[in-house]
């Protein structure tokens, strides 16, 4: 692990055209190179190069791969992971035969769907009749009980089935239950067979109930058929699982090759390509190209320092333990190339904040349990879609749970009860105004702790910024900027000043010999920022405004900077009081539930209220603490040192999930 973003080198290579495919496959297998288009050659040389032309356009391959993927998902087939063996066994693309196979499969699926549709329509038709019968809307129904006097019963049944309804023709008298709106068609059909209504009153009375029962039996049977067809559709896809997997692998590897080759340029006999590789892998990549081409290649390396910083892709190399926090950083932005990797600092700051806001041994344990169970479930079902508690949240809970437990131990809290002595001080007791020994006596002391914690975080942010600026050789910014040395000095002076005021019991402001000289020097330095930058720009030959413009911008910049330094540092520091606020809210809520649990005077009710209270607190307070910790990191910590101007390093390899030009 490096404290800074990973060092990069740019490779530019020329290989023989005949070695191109092998080079592509070797680089894909290694998967550590982010390709770039060669467009910086002089134009007289550029026109000698030709772009990549493919037999099958990449869009066609991609569309076909997506099609296969859709069918695999439909059949619950796992998308395979590519490996070296797949690369070695790679077959040429046969788009037409894949298309034929997919068409065949989808055609058979469509025929299943059509059958499903017919059954569904039958279910709908019968359901309507049953519903009317059950709602006693007999006006909409047409019930007939009788026999045919000529022709065959089954022929009549065939005619009636075309109209739709429930028919019982297995024994006489026959029963026909249809909709009144179809009665004309029913009458027409029956008249042809000489239908005669039975005079048996018992038969007439029981007919509706019998027909409804028959209808329900029919629906149950049709629903079963529908389910069978639904299963059959999935089964049809699963039966083609190996064929689909093979197609997917072939299409995906060809798609990746096409993607890589789209960055290549060609002369008559050679292939030219370029891309970024992490410095630690560069030697290995060079060896691979040499080995694949039998040494018939030219490789040139360009160091990242020789390129504009904003063109170099950035990769953070955080230890595995910090991975969930790396995503938090990436959600914010990508750090600038060569700057400090914020992940470890974010992880520590986030966990400390969360532990302070959500300090409870028992509730922390619940969070840990949810994290463990959730992670295990997702591991067991890799195809399972993320729910409200996503994979990422489960991973994060594996850290937040223990952090909360440590907080609980420090403050002596377990499910809101003080059942063991606090290692530091009893948070709940302080919040409730009880007498506790030690340095922390009341809520103001708790607020004081979080402000001190905030000062440490803000100073850490400033320190990291200074290191970044030194590495980037931006010395003017280092000295004059509000997050530079001058800002740091003014912040330190402000803290000293406030500290003295608080120590005097909010009565007198502190004074010392160094206060005025330090303040004046800092203000002068801020005032000089614009003129110094003006001189530097002049020396570099950059375009600058006139003296009038300089005077105006110096005054404006000075006023804005001073105002911003005072207001932003003050608000950033006070913002950390939310840590205490959330912690106090957590303790107060638990205390409230504790009091409520005592009210019914019943042990079962007490347990239930405490369980409900804990669940509510875990969900609501856990969410609040998580969001507030994130907010403090993003707005109070990152703004001090994290410019987020970088572009993420996206190497292309067999494991790449998406590829884009």
């Amino acid at each position: 692990m490096s404290m800074f973003t990973r060092k990069m080198r740019m490779l530019t290579a020329v290989v023989l055209e005949k070695d191109r495919d092998n080079v592509v496959k070797a680089l894909l297998e290694k998967g550590v190179m982010e390709f770039v288009h060669i467009d910086s050659l002089p134009s007289e040389k550029m026109h000698k190069l030709s772009a990549h032309s493919s037999e099958v356009p990449k869009a066609v391959i991609s569309d076909m791969r997506v099609r296969v993927e859709t069918l695999m998902k439909e059949g619950g087939i796992r998308i395979p992971d590519l490996d070296k063996k797949d690369m070695d066994d790679l077959k040429p693309l046969d788009i037409d035969s894949y298309r034929r196979a997919l068409d065949r499969l989808t055609l058979s699926l469509q025929s299943v769907r059509d059958n499903q549709k017919t059954i569904n329509q039958n279910i709908n038709a019968i359901s309507e009749i049953i519903r009317y019968a059950e709602e006693k809307s007999n006006d909409y129904l047409d019930l007939r009980v009788g026999i045919n006097t000529h022709g065959k019963g089954e022929d009549l049944l065939g005619r009636l089935k075309m109209v739709g309804g429930i028919f019982m023709f297995s024994e006489k008298p026959y029963i026909s239950l249809t909709l009144r709106r179809d009665s004309q068609r029913v009458t027409d059909a029956m008249d042809k067979f000489g239908w005669t209504e039975t005079t048996d009153q018992d038969e007439q009375r029981s007919a509706l109930g019998r027909a409804v029962s028959e209808g329900k039996r029919l629906i149950a049977s049709l629903t079963e058929d529908l389910q069978k067809l639904s299963d059959e559709a999935a089964e049809k896809i699963r039966a083609s699982a190996s064929e689909l997997s093979f197609m997917w692998i072939t299409l995906r590897i060809h798609e990746l090759c096409e993607h890589v080759e789209s960055f290549f340029s060609y002369t008559k006999n050679t292939t030219l390509f370029s891309g970024w590789v992490p410095e630690t892998d560069s030697e290995n990549v060079g060896e691979i190209i040499y080995s694949v081409t039998g040494g018939k290649c030219i490789i040139e390396w360009t160091e990242a320092d020789e390129m504009p910083r904003d063109e170099v892709p950035v990769e953070m190399t955080s230890p595995k333990i910090f991975k969930p926090f790396e995503r938090m950083v990436q959600n914010y932005s990508t750090p600038e190339y060569g700057s400090i990797n914020p992940t470890p600092f974010t992880a520590i700051a986030y966990l400390c904040m969360f532990a302070l806001m959500f300090a409870d041994l028992g509730q922390g344990f619940i969070l840990l349990l949810v994290g463990i169970i959730g992670s295990a479930m997702y591991k067991k079902n890799p195809m399972k879609k993320d729910g409200i508690i996503s994979r990422y949240l489960c991973n994060l809970l594996l850290y937040l749970g223990p952090a909360s437990m440590v907080g609980g131990l420090l403050f002596g809290s377990c499910f809101g009860f003080s059942i063991f002595p606090a290692l530091w001080f009893n948070f709940d007791a302080v919040v409730e105004g009880e007498e506790v020994g030690g340095l922390i006596q009341d809520i103001y002391d708790i607020l004081g702790i979080t402000i001190k914690f905030g000062i440490v975080i803000i100073f850490l942010g400033l320190l990291l910024n200074w290191i970044n600026l030194i590495r980037k050789r931006r010395f003017s910014e280092l000295v004059f900027d509000k997050n530079g040395l001058v800002g740091g000095v003014l912040y330190a002076l402000g803290i000293w000043f406030a500290w003295g005021f608080v120590r005097s019991g909010y009565k007198t402001f502190p004074s010392s010999w160094f206060m005025a000289p330090v303040l004046i020097t800092a203000l002068v330095l801020i005032f000089l920022k614009e003129p110094v930058e003006f001189i530097i720009a002049k020396k570099k030959g950059e375009k600058t405004g006139g003296i009038g413009h300089l005077a105006m911008s110096t005054i404006m910049e000075f006023l804005v900077e001073v105002l911003e330094i005072f207001s932003s540092f003050l608000s950033n520091t006070l913002s950390f009081m939310r840590v205490a606020g959330l912690g106090i809210a957590h303790a107060s809520l638990m205390s409230a539930f504790y009091d409520m649990a005592d009210m019914p005077g019943n042990i079962i009710a007490k347990i239930l209220i405490m369980i409900l209270g804990n669940v509510l607190v875990i969900v609501l307070e856990g969410l609040s603490a998580g969001i507030q910790s994130l907010r403090l990191n993003y707005y109070e910590f990152f703004t001090k040192y994290f410019t987020g101007h970088g572009i993420a390093f996206r190497p292309v390899g067999l494991k790449s999930r998406t590829v884009s030009d």
Partner: protein, 365 residues
């Protein structure tokens, strides 16, 4: 402060939803899917996942469309629940338009069974029969044997009066078109009243949206019906929705009583929407080889496109403006309706095995 508390929650909620809606990749992949089964499968993992589940279990596209319709109603209901009484009641009026579409479908089935004497068998199942806004007995509509029975299904609803102004014989000879237009007009009248109940800012936004909407619909109808249905000027004037600038101006100028009402309306359109008239004239000038029907179709398509663009612009403007108004709600419904109609059109295109190009053309992509 009132406006902020009225709209802050719904504004945040709907904006968050709008943020994840209308994924052009989803539409593109659905269009590219070679079969209906594959197109529906693309809805997995989206807010329309239920549609793919319904299709997988029934294979019935009409059942999927009913499901989409149910979701649309649920969407309106949910938003109504988050709004205070006045805007909530306005949204309820918007939901009445959905109800009217459902009524039209039910009446078409009744018409098919009773006037055309066609079997409607299972098709009744695709009519939404639960309460939308007013208590309407959809079963009674579909199964009505006589016209009074049909009217009775609308007892105690605003539609009863509309139905009562028609006769069975009139519908049998003139078709359902006049009845459907009358139902639409009734809704626009109710919409105008509902807009009047809104607070001043909301009223301004709703009026500006719907008056332009109605104007363009009127232009569209006049274009469509003067050619396709060959309605005479008086009949045409009765088709005009009694809302918006064009209708009001036509009434002021007594267009219906003039010798050539269409010419009067054209004048009004030229004054208010010169761009549309220019486009129509351009189509006519550059299409010497086109027949009148083709010209007419192109005009309709162009006006529809203009209407779509104008709506999109208006709603985008609302979304970037004051968040504490009914505008966000209207924009949200517009985006939902657009997305639903795109999905409906693609699925229907796939059902009829239309080519990718034809579907794109229909969607104006």
């Amino acid at each position: 402060m009132g406006r902020v508390s009225d709209y802050s929650f719904i504004n945040a909620k709907l904006r968050a939803r709008i943020g994840i809606m209308h994924d052009p990749k989803l539409v593109d992949e659905m269009i590219k899917a070679p079969t209906l089964t594959e197109a529906v499968a693309k809805l997995d993992g989206t807010r329309h996942q239920r549609l793919s589940e319904v299709y997988r279990s029934t294979g019935d596209l009409q059942q999927v469309e009913l499901c989409l319709f149910e979701d649309e109603i649920a969407n309106y209901r949910e938003v109504m629940g988050y709004l205070p009484s006045v805007p909530s009641s306005f949204v309820s009026t918007l939901l009445e338009k959905v109800e009217i579409e459902n009524i039209k479908n039910a009446i078409r089935l009744w018409y098919s069974a009773n006037i055309m004497h066609h079997s409607i068998s299972y098709r009744s199942a695709y009519i939404y029969k639960k309460l939308i806004v007013h208590h309407i007995d959809y079963d009674a509509i579909i199964n009505a044997g006589t016209y009074p029975e049909l009217i009775n299904a609308f007892h105690d609803t605003p539609y009863s009066k509309v139905l009562a102004s028609f006769t069975l014989d009139g519908l049998a000879s003139g078709g359902l078109f006049p009845l459907e237009i009358a139902l639409d007009h009734e809704w626009f009248r109710r919409l105008e009243t509902a807009i009047g109940t809104l607070g001043s800012k909301d009223r301004k936004i709703a009026s500006s949206i719907y008056s332009v909407d109605v104007d363009l619909k009127n232009i569209l109808m006049l274009t469509r019906y003067s050619y396709s249905y060959h309605l005479d000027p008086q009949q045409l004037a009765s088709v005009v929705i009694p809302m918006g600038y064009i209708a009001k101006e036509a009434e002021k100028r007594k267009a219906a009583e003039s010798e050539d009402p269409i010419a009067v309306i054209k004048e009004i359109v030229a004054f208010r929407y010169p761009q549309i008239l220019e486009e129509i004239n351009l189509i006519r000038r550059t299409s010497d080889d086109l027949t009148t029907v083709e010209e007419n179709n192109r005009e309709i398509v162009r006006i529809e496109e203009y209407l779509g663009e104008r709506r999109k612009k208006e709603y985008n403007r609302i979304l970037t403006g004051n968040p504490f108004t009914i505008g966000v709600v209207l924009s949200y419904f517009f985006i939902c309706a657009s997305e639903d109609s795109v999905i409906r059109a693609i699925l229907s295109g796939k059902y009829y095995r239309w080519s990718e190009d034809k579907i794109r053309e229909r969607l104006g992509l």
